[in-house]
């Protein structure tokens, strides 16, 4: 009886997910084995995608971006969350301030980027004033770090809130017992805080991983379809394929991307379950 009630509760959400995500994705999966005219072509599309140099570049950049951003975000946000938890009412205020970047529209962020990182932007003006050489941030490899900065800036506050939620459910008496036993701050952090945050960490890693794909929006608005090569991401490629009506390649690449995310999440889930 209880399970029947549960199904009724998830039915609206499930319907939405099926109609807008799962069923269209099934269609994409079918198309990945077809030419654009609907004729079956086996794994030709996958072969084309895997041999595509632009795909290689986009995958490399995306992986590199995830490898740099994810640990950086997790560490910085956890540190911030721990510090904020110990700063009382000021911490609460700061937590709200951290969420502001999420509320700033992408177009506004882009305008700010241009003002700061343009060849004649504020940062270069500052460098000139300091007697240094200017850097063309958006047309050199420096653009990658601008993108990393943007991702961290935008997602830090949200991740801090998630960590804070995890921190708030750790019972205070465990810390008190540890302090009575003579444990220091570092020991309690390593032996109490971190182990108790594993469940939260799983959620945060998955969410941050998925969010790392959304950084394309800012990169696209600043540098268009063909940005500096180091910030040419998978979404740029998908976007350009769509313009050229390369639906077959897009479908195959989307399935590959889905599989990679699925495997990543599965492995993460397995490793978390094994520890429990």
């Amino acid at each position: 009886m209880k399970s029947k009630k549960g199904i009724l509760f998830i039915l609206p959400g499930l319907s939405g997910v099926m109609v807008f995500y799962l069923i269209p994705f099934l269609d994409v999966a079918v198309r990945s084995f077809q030419k654009i005219d609907g004729k079956f072509c086996g794994f030709d599309n996958y072969q084309k995608v895997l041999e595509n140099k632009a795909f290689h570049l986009a995958v490399e950049n995306t992986i590199y971006f995830v490898l740099v951003c994810l640990p950086l975000l997790l560490v910085l946000s956890l540190l911030a969350a721990v510090i904020l938890q110990r700063t009382g009412s000021l911490g609460k205020l700061c937590k709200s301030a951290y969420l502001i970047p999420l509320a700033v529209p992408a177009a506004g962020v882009v305008l700010l980027w241009k003002l700061i990182f343009d060849n004649h932007g504020m940062l270069n003006q500052l460098l000139l004033w300091l007697g240094q050489n200017t850097v063309d941030y958006m047309n050199t490899n420096a653009s990658f770090y601008v993108l990393v900065f943007s991702y961290i800036w935008k997602n830090l506050g949200y991740t801090v809130v998630l960590w804070s939620a995890g921190l708030s459910v750790i019972p205070e008496n465990i810390y008190e017992a540890a302090w009575v036993d003579g444990a220091g701050k570092l020991r309690t952090f390593l032996s109490i805080t971190l182990p108790n945050l594993k469940q939260t960490a799983f959620t945060i890693v998955v969410i941050s991983f998925l969010n790392s794909f959304k950084v394309f929006r800012e990169a696209y608005l600043v540098a268009g379809n063909y940005p500096q090569q180091s910030i040419y991401m998978l979404q740029h490629l998908f976007n350009n394929w769509f313009r050229e009506l390369d639906m077959d390649k897009m479908a195959a690449a989307a399935v590959l991307l889905f599989l990679v995310i699925l495997i990543f999440v599965y492995m993460l889930h397995r490793s978390w379950e094994e520890e429990h």
Binding site: S3, K4, I7, L11, L14, S15, M18, V19, I23, I36, D37, N52, K53, A54, L57, N119, N139, N225, Y226, Q229, Y232, L237, N239, N240, W241, F242, R243, E244, L245, D246, M247
Partner: protein, 774 residues
């Protein structure tokens, strides 16, 4: 329990499937819809014999229609009176009216005609006056005076004109200026209403010539007025004011008419006709015609009823204007329109067997709007009135949508099965569409046109592979260079041209190239040179790109290109370049006026070629196709294709046939037509001008000096030379918008010294290679 779960799961799936299938449109429902029949249908009726132009038309007391007009070629004037159904014209040739031009005319209900214009006097001067033609065709000459002429303005005019002319001539000119009439119209009581050039309306007593001011507007505010029965409709930029012609009182505002004018503001007028015309059914009901269609409107009513949608008729052609509309028979209308250089009569009658709503719809998509495309669409609509044509413009200029965004939206529609039937492929990823099988082979259409009229085979061959053609431009332009022989010879390669320009600049002989700014230079050079950039592997050769950029920079630097050029704005839109039929003829004029020594640009018309030769005859020089390599390139325009998913292939093919036809090729506009017969016809028109009087074109320079040149009479040899140039074209320039954008965007930075040559080339090559790798 398990069974229950399974049942529930099945239920969920069924609900989802039902929801999904419910999203689609029910085609069966559409099929079973009852066909509603009966609507107004358009038919072109013959103009009264001998008449090519209408000056005025009106309905007489007995219901017949009277037209006053002339023959454009002979100058003879006629009055034609129809039967009650607007048919069987009885034409009377009038005695010589002796006018130099007619500025306004109107037909009264009793059949008399009022004509305002500049009439020749005995002393050979021409003076503004009024001539009245009575129903018996007797002509009365009448001088008139506006009652409240502003003396201060008159004195000012006198002072200005006397500076340049003799006193007597100045007086005549001032008289004409102060007696100018832009429009006139009779009411049903025979009163004549006149609009002067200041925008005032006067009421005239026809028997005495006396006038009284009827109503006044700020100068330029009143655009047009119509008199129907005892109502005067004054149309301004703000809407419509309605007056009683009997006592001059302003009647209550008609908000529906005001809104209609606000939505369709009058933008231009000429030849005594406007973008709207009215006719009264009775005191409170009127019918009007505009580019949206034919409408019935009740005074103070809450809505105007559309009697005919312009989409299926001549009316949608924005280049036409209206002489007038009169009701004929029980439910018919006769509309006089001005189209090109002549007038036409269109009759709208109710056909009870015609389908009330046109069901077949042909969708045409273009990224950018084109006047030429609109004109072809009008011709198609007239030939196929049972097909509704919908033209969608991806970048309409108001929404700020980029080409990329527009193409993505188009692709979404195509993938959803809601795409257009015909594509104007300019600026679109044509090769990609062909590879994906999105376009139909149009070679059967081209073969038919070729059989009937002939095509430029060299252009067709560029688009034909293995006997199939999936796209084909209906027009094309070619890049030419013009100037002294040395300059034209130097332009054979870009480095040589750059070196020559440097040498000229050192000599300090003034302007060298057209003042077209960085983007203009890059664009013109791109059109001349890009055809040679592609290597055998389909990638761009770095060395060629370097040469191009270096030459562009040198040309940009040799003198004044750092300033915003006079023609720089042209390059914001390819369309604007095309609207002037190519850029070369403009820059050649600049060579005449001494602005530059070398002219280059696109040539897209026989008349443009004639202008070029005329200027060369005056100041010397030669012209050549401007190609910096082995390939002779052209710039395609209005590239047509049919979408493979279309269900209206026949209609789409019919449209393409019209697009490539001789008739549409003859429309003056951008580019040479690929239709050979149309090209020959354009040439023949100019060849036959040998009999006509010589034309002279003059330009006044900033210092007051006047430079003029005589328009050359084209010879058969001239045409032969032009044709051989066209026939030598063998490749289209790189029209891929993505590559062109890379080159122009990065090239601009290089020309404006924001980055080095190496950086620019690396940036372009990286982007191009990435694009090609995708």
């Amino acid at each position: 329990m398990k069974k229950r779960k399974r049942n529930l799961a099945v239920l969920v799936i069924l609900i989802l499937i039902a929801g999904l299938t419910g999203c689609g449109t029910s085609s069966k429902e559409e099929e079973t819809e009852t066909t509603v029949q009966g609507r107004l249908v358009e038919e072109e009726v013959e103009m009264p014999q001998g008449m090519t132009n209408i000056f005025a038309m009106g309905k007489l007391e007995d219901g017949s229609i009277e037209i006053f007009g002339n023959d454009y070629n002979t100058g003879k004037n006629y009055i034609a009176i129809s039967g009650k159904e607007g048919e069987s014209w009885q034409v009377t040739e009038l005695e010589d009216l002796n006018y130099s031009y007619i500025s306004a005319a109107s037909v009264a209900e009793n059949g008399s005609v009022a004509i305002f214009g500049s009439f020749r006097q005995e002393d050979n001067s021409a003076k503004m006056a009024l001539k009245i033609i009575s129903p018996e065709k007797e002509i009365t000459y009448l001088n008139y005076e506006f009652p409240d002429t502003d003396d201060s303005q008159l004195n000012q005019n006198m002072a200005n004109i006397q500076k340049d002319l003799g006193k007597e001539e100045a007086e005549t000119q001032i008289y004409n200026m102060n007696h100018g009439v832009e429009q006139c119209a009779y009411d049903s009581s025979g009163n004549l209403f006149i609009k002067d050039i200041q925008g005032n309306i006067y009421k005239m007593n026809i028997s005495t010539g006396e006038m009284e001011k009827f109503c006044g507007f700020e100068q330029g505010e009143l655009q047009y007025f119509a008199v129907e029965g005892k109502r005067l409709y004054a149309i301004t930029q703000k809407g419509v004011s309605i007056y009683s012609t009997e006592d001059g009182s302003e009647l209550p505002k008609d908000h529906v008419l005001i809104q209609m004018i606000k939505e369709n503001p009058l933008t231009s007028w000429g030849y005594g006709c406007f973008e709207i015309a009215f006719t009264q059914k009775d005191d409170r009901n009127l019918v009007y015609v505009n580019h949206q269609g034919l409408f019935y409107h009740q005074e103070q009513g809450s809505i105007s009823e559309q009697l005919l949608d312009a989409n299926n008729s001549y009316l949608c052609d924005n280049t036409i204007s209206f002489h007038g509309i009169e009701s004929v028979g029980e439910a018919g209308y006769l509309v006089g329109i001005h189209m090109g250089e002549t007038s036409k009569l269109l009759k709208y009658t109710y056909d009870e067997n015609a389908e009330a709503v046109v069901k077949k719809q042909l969708n045409i998509y273009a990224l950018e709007d084109s006047e030429l495309l609109r004109q072809v669409v009008s011709k198609y609509r007239i030939q196929y009135p049972d097909v509704l044509v919908q033209v969608t413009i991806g970048m309409d200029g108001n929404s700020g949508i980029t080409a990329e965004e527009a193409i993505r939206t188009l692709n979404t529609e195509i993938m959803a099965g809601k795409g257009p039937d015909v594509l104007v492929l300019d600026g679109m990823p044509v090769e990609s569409y062909i590879q994906k099988g999105m376009l139909v082979d149009i070679s059967p259409v081209l073969e038919k046109v070729e059989k009937e009229d002939g095509l430029f085979i060299n252009i067709k061959e560029v688009y034909t592979k293995n006997g199939k053609a999936y796209s084909m431009p209906s027009r094309f332009l070619m890049e030419v260079v013009e100037g002294e022989e040395k300059a034209v010879t130097a332009a054979s390669t870009l480095p040589e041209l750059a070196a020559y320009a440097k040498k000229l600049a050192q000599g300090g002989n003034g302007g060298i190239f057209p003042e077209i700014g960085a983007k203009g230079i890059l664009m013109e050079l791109y059109q001349a040179d890009s055809v040679n950039w592609l290597g055998e592997d389909g990638t761009i050769q770095e060395e060629s790109l370097k040469n191009y950029l270096e030459a562009a920079r040198t040309i940009y630097n040799v003198e004044r290109f750092s300033a915003q050029g006079a023609y720089e704005e042209f390059y914001e839109s390819f369309e604007s370049v095309c609207e002037i039929g190519g850029t070369a003829q403009v820059y050649v004029v600049d060579r005449l006026t001494g602005w530059n020594q070398i002219a280059f640009g696109t040539l897209g018309s026989v008349s443009g070629y004639r202008e070029m030769l005329s200027i060369e005859a005056k100041i010397g020089g030669i012209n050549e196709l401007w190609n910096t390599g082995e390939q002779k390139s052209f710039l395609p325009y209005l590239m047509m294709g049919i979408v493979s998913t279309t269900e209206k292939q026949q209609e789409a093919e019919d449209f393409l046939k019209i697009m490539f036809s001789k008739e549409c090729g003859e429309i003056s506009g951008c580019g040479f037509p690929v239709n050979r017969a149309a090209y020959n016809s354009q040439c023949d028109v100019l060849l036959s001008r040998e009999d006509t009087a010589k034309e002279t074109t003059s330009y006044t320079l900033g210092d007051g000096t006047e430079i003029s040149y005589e328009t050359l009479k084209l010879s058969k040899d001239n045409i032969k030379q032009l044709t051989s140039k066209i026939e030598s074209l063998n490749e289209a320039v790189i029209t891929d918008r993505v590559i062109q954008d890379f080159v122009l965007e990065e090239g601009m930075k290089y020309l404006k010294q924001e980055q080095s040559l190496e950086e620019t080339v690396t940036e372009i090559m990286q982007k191009v290679n990435l694009y090609l790798a995708e």
